[in-house]
């Protein structure tokens, strides 16, 4: 009985661990004259931001903010971004801010990491770069130690904070939902994402919060660092060393980036609990986690410990 897996709402939780990595992170806040404009800007900025493999950053809306939480009292959204290096983050954020927020009607962009240069000496440029779009008509304003730029645009002024602090984050926290059918696993997956969507300090950057293309390290092709995680591919069950049972035909991976170990651990617990509650008896057969043997990432989220 010692090795029996933990059950959550009757769904077995495998004694596996998720392996995650150090990343560089930041948070920005997008506001708009109304919720829709703010959402439009945030959606644009977080587009094509699922994986650092080809997108440069993993970026997504962290949560919607109330008017009392935004710097200018308007509707807004907090966005978290993660990159493998500070320089990549410093390249991606100004680019996305310029093309996606500056262009969005009524929008404004603020730092979401409290603290000035003395607290966070590593900075990611926001208005520091975009201000030049003002062609000399831009106006700087410093209040309470924070510098804002006002750039004239066609609906008035684009207000943008000068820069934002860069901090350490963790990328690659995960859990996998396994089941017989896509319908059953989808129910569990969507329940997990719904439960996790307003948690602070974490994002799930893949489409709908989940990835079907989980990867393993290495490839038969020398130029590729990663390739399909064949052990979880149902069509390869009979031809490779599979980790799926005979009755399991779908595996979806929920990938979590977070500002701290505790934030990711909490989100895994919330997500798995919701997934098991919704998916129990509807096709969710097991929950497990993805790792590389513990050799690549120093952050290990043991599901048995996280779910306690």
């Amino acid at each position: 009985m010692k090795n029996d897996p933990m059950l959550v709402h009757g769904v077995p939780i495998e004694p596996e661990f998720a392996e995650a990595f150090d990343m560089k992170a930041t948070r920005v806040i997008v506001t708009g004259h109304d919720r829709q404009w703010a959402l439009d800007g945030a959606t644009a900025m977080t587009g094509f931001g699922t994986s650092v493999i080809a997108c440069g950053v993993e970026i997504a809306i962290e949560r919607e903010l109330g008017r009392d939480e935004t710097p200018d009292g308007r509707p807004g959204f907090a966005i978290l971004a993660f990159a493998v290096s500070g320089s990549e983050l410093e390249k991606q954020i100004p680019r996305r801010a310029g093309q996606c927020i500056l262009t969005c009607p009524t929008s404004a962009l603020y730092a979401g990491i409290p603290g000035n240069k003395s607290l966070h000496p590593k900075r990611v440029a926001l208005g520091k770069m975009i201000r030049y779009f003002g062609d000399g008509h831009q106006i700087s304003k410093v209040t309470e130690g924070r510098r804002f730029w006002r750039v004239p645009v066609m609906d008035g002024e684009f207000v943008c904070e000068h820069d934002v602090g860069r901090v350490d984050g963790i990328g690659g926290g995960n859990f996998l939902l396994l089941g017989e059918s896509i319908e059953g696993v989808t129910i569990a997956c969507r329940a997990a994402i719904e439960a996790m969507k307003n948690l602070p300090d974490v994002i799930t950057p893949f489409p709908g919060g989940a990835a079907r293309s989980g990867s393993k390290v290495g490839s038969k092709y020398a130029k590729l660092f990663a390739s399909t995680n064949d052990a979880f591919c149902p069509t390869l069950k009979t031809s490779v060393d599979t980790l799926l049972r005979d009755d399991e035909n779908v595996a979806l991976e929920i990938v979590i980036d977070g500002m701290s170990f505790d934030a990711i651990a909490h989100s895994i617990k919330v997500g798995i609990t919701a997934a098991c509650k919704a998916g129990s008896g509807k096709g969710l057969s097991r929950v497990t986690a993805g790792n590389y043997g513990g050799k690549l990432g120093k952050h290990h989220f043991h599901l048995a410990k996280v779910m306690q």
């Binding site: 200018d72 009292g73 404004a108 304003k141 410093v142 309470e144 924070r146 008035g156 207000v159």
Partner: protein, 233 residues
């Protein structure tokens, strides 16, 4: 962080240069050392009762009394707050003598009135005046913000290069030197927190919620300073 409270014992009948009342000058000094600091021809202790205290946020100098004859208050101000519970004299936050720039940061709050040349050549920071200000306010202003809840004196904004001046109503301006008034919303106002007193909070609310009118100038010097007032003012 430190609070220095300087309570005026008696109002001088002559002008005194108050620019030495500066947080960097006061920092690290004992009460007796501060009282012996020179101010004009006298010592600080001749004019003020000095109390030193601690507080959580930035450095703060509290000046209590009618300082109408103390000029150049905050001339070298860089950070923290100078809070004047009363009136101040001429050149608040302004450059001293032949210096190019006045205050370069922080906030000066004057609950009462200010004399002429408020913010003359100021470079950065905020000056809040709850009452009236004298003539030539914001003259040759380089940058920063000045907020005046009361009346604005004549000939103000001459040579204004950049910076923002907020008034309860648009003052009379020199002909041809400023753009025509435009109406807009002023989003940045929601990012600036007024001093926590009724006069400033109600004054500032007009800029945060309702449309404003603004003009730019002084065009005589190629300036892009802005003068902003509530559209309904």
């Amino acid at each position: 962080m430190t609070t220095w409270t300087l309570r005026l014992k008696q109002s001088p009948e002559f002008a005194i240069d108050g620019s030495s009342i500066d947080a960097r000058e006061l920092a690290g000094k004992s009460k007796s050392m501060i009282e012996s600091m020179k101010i004009g021809a006298d010592c600080l202790g001749d004019w003020f009762d000095v109390v030193i205290g601690d507080r959580g946020e930035g450095d703060r100098i509290e000046l209590i009394g009618d300082l109408s004859n103390f000029h150049h208050i905050g001339a070298n101000h860089q950070r923290g707050e100078i809070h004047v519970d009363g009136n101040v004299g001429d050149f608040v936050g302004a450059a001293v003598g032949g210096r190019r720039l006045g205050m370069t940061g922080g906030r000066i709050v004057v609950v009462g009135n200010a004399g002429p040349y408020a913010g003359h050549r100021m470079r950065r920071g905020e000056i809040w005046i709850g009452g009236d200000c004298g003539r030539l306010a914001a003259a040759h202003m380089v940058a920063g913000s000045i907020m005046v809840a009361g009346q604005v004196g004549a000939d103000s904004f001459v040579g204004m290069q950049r910076g923002s001046f907020f008034a309860s109503r648009l003052p009379k301006l020199a002909s041809g030197r400023f753009t025509r008034p435009l109406e807009s919303f002023y989003l940045l106002a929601s990012l600036i927190r007024p001093p926590k007193t009724e006069v400033f909070e109600s004054f500032w609310k007009q800029f945060r919620i309702t449309p404003v009118i603004s003009v730019r100038g002084d065009r005589a010097v190629g300036g892009q300073g802005e003068i902003v007032a509530p559209a309904a003012g």
